[in-house]
Subunit: 352 residues, 2 copies
């Protein structure tokens, strides 16, 4: 543990204004945040400071060149008030993978891990205990250096902010399989959690929402024949009893929920195939009844069952099953995350 | 003209610290900026305010989702102290094209044009008069609304900041034709001046710089066989006496310099072809000596001659010609921009 993380406490707390029984997702922010700056070629020691506005020059490169990356994690409090994270080192590693692709300096592991733990200790009261809720954790790094030249910044800011949160989606979602727009290029930044990947999805997603869907399922930009992923989730499809998900690539985010679900399903004896999945195959399976389930998997939504999908003007409904993989796998993973079940995988990480 | 643009003057001026004879590109900012906010579903009236730091919540969506677009323009002062812009309405229109793709609300034309003119009047002293220098103008719009949900913001900020600037590149550049990384996807945001497009280029460009090149020439993400554009410039190639440039597409920015150069060249009687241009063709032409020139075209660099290119480990040098298209077209366009020559195209725009 870095023992010189400075803690500057907020003068007042906002916690009494928060209705912990009716939390939305990412709308209320805890009293403190972790802040750490990169200057003169090195990361300075992180500090815990009051959650407060950031002051930036109008020429700061974040405003112009989208040089930013982020992560999404959750902290859970069990009934004994113990606090747990889920595979946090994987988020740390992925943040640095993203940073490298975006020409952002990588962070030392202890700045991230010790900084996060210190922050969670300071804002322990903000971690919800109620089932279904958690403390959403948002580490992010952005170009805070100045100048209008389209080149990497010379200063960066790393922040971890947290938000006590309820569910991301409520209920099942209807999705649209995309035929025109795309999310990422071969040789591009799709595998990184880079800010620009998300803004590029908003307009096509809005068009899908206008047609009555909640999410877009992205396909490859060249043929639109392969299923890639959703806005902030990887995609799983159950055909008969087999669970299928596409391989990751330089276009697709290597989701931590995705890889955990693959391991969990295999441990439960569910046949799993990681292979290219065509839109054609999914549509055919929907037509002949072998398509039993589809769901998204990601930290924010955990597992989000899909009620049906639209493709080339036709809507395909998925059957309403009694015992779904989605619900049993969601229970398995959240039980592990929240310390309600054994963790044979060593994924759970105690904050102390 | 909107006659209620409020002007809040800076208390002091920084102009006396500026060495107008040795300006770099985009490093010194004028005393004022235009600011305009989008709130409650509408753009508020723009204001001229002192150039000053912006205060943003750590959850502002610009930090997380790269929701931002920008433009690049220049103002020139002629020897009679008249101030000129070059095709400013095209920048305005392109800003809105970019905004639409990024799910950012579009701006009213008079907010942009009248706001810009008012700003240039207030900071008239900052517009350099010296040949080769100009006032670089940076309009940009970013998501200033808050929240960790990956969806469009509900508040935006539009700013025009300016920087008296010298040349962007000095001298000829050596470029690398990219075989692995790419800038944009079919159905993506490549045609928009979206922040994320630039950050994604930094790392591959850094790899090219490490190998001794200054710029990357992007190719299509699917085959890497077609020449697309450079980091902030469109690309022209002269084969024998014909000037060739690729067509624009949803992957390529529709450059204002590019389209002006096409028109100027045609008016000069230069044969121009706008058609797909393969890497193979350029390499073959370099080998048989029919490749006479290559240059980039964009507002910042105007025309940037290319000395040679690297491709698959081989370097190809371009000949040193006496009278190049690059230099004659650069003179033509800058003479029009700076009011040194007639403007038969109606491109020049007087600020008054
Ligand atoms: C594009 C994208 N795909 C997939 C995921 C799921 O990844 P994880 O399970 O690590 O949260 C996310 C969210 O983090 C994402 O943003
Ligand atoms: C990617 C890209 N291509 C081309 C250009 C050239 O466009 P323009 O001539 O309008 O400046 C720019 C710069 O604006 C650019 O950013």
């Amino acid at each position: 543990m870095i023992n010189n993380i400075e803690i500057i406490k907020a003068k007042t707390t906002k916690i009494n204004d928060v209705d912990f029984d009716n939390l939305k997702f990412g709308h209320v922010f805890s009293d403190h945040m972790l802040e750490c700056k990169f200057k003169d070629g090195k990361w300075e020691t992180p500090k815990v400071v009051p959650y407060q506005a950031l002051s930036l020059d109008p020429s700061a490169k974040i405003f112009h060149y989208g040089q930013s990356v982020f992560e999404g994690m959750k902290a859970y409090k069990d009934e004994n008030e113990n606090v747990w994270l889920f595979r946090p080192l994987d988020n740390f590693k992925r943040l640095n993978i993203s940073s490298k692709r975006l020409a952002i300096p990588e962070l030392p592991e202890n700045y991230f891990m010790d900084g996060l733990k210190t922050l969670l200790q300071v804002d322990n009261e903000w971690i919800p205990q109620k089932g279904g809720s958690s403390l959403y954790i948002r580490p992010f790094v952005f170009a805070s250096g100045n100048g209008f030249h389209a080149s990497p910044a010379d200063e960066y800011t790393f922040i971890i902010a947290t938000a006590p949160s309820g569910a991301y989606f409520s209920g099942k979602v209807k999705v649209l399989i995309e035929e025109k727009y795309s999310r990422s290029a071969n040789g591009g930044v799709g595998y990184a959690k880079a800010g620009g990947n998300y803004a590029g999805q908003f307009y096509p997603t809005q068009l899908a929402i206008d047609k009555g869907y909640q999410q877009v399922i992205w396909t490859d930009d060249n043929t639109h024949e392969y299923i890639e992923e959703a806005g902030a989730m990887n995609i799983f499809v159950r055909i008969n009893d087999t669970l299928v998900t596409g391989p990751t690539s330089d276009r697709i985010l290597d989701g931590i929920t995705r890889k955990s679900i693959i391991e969990l399903a295999e441990a439960e004896g569910i046949p799993v195939e990681v292979r290219k999945l065509t839109v054609h195959e999914v549509v055919s399976a929907a037509k002949d009844g072998s398509l039993k389930e589809m769901f998204g998997a990601g930290t924010a939504a955990v597992i989000s069952p899909i009620a049906g999908f639209g493709y080339k003007g036709t809507d395909y409904d998925l059957p309403e099953l009694e015992n779904t993989y989605a619900s049993s796998l969601k229970k398995r993973i959240t039980d592990i995350q929240t310390n309600k079940a054994e963790d044979p995988f060593g994924w759970r990480y105690k904050v102390e």
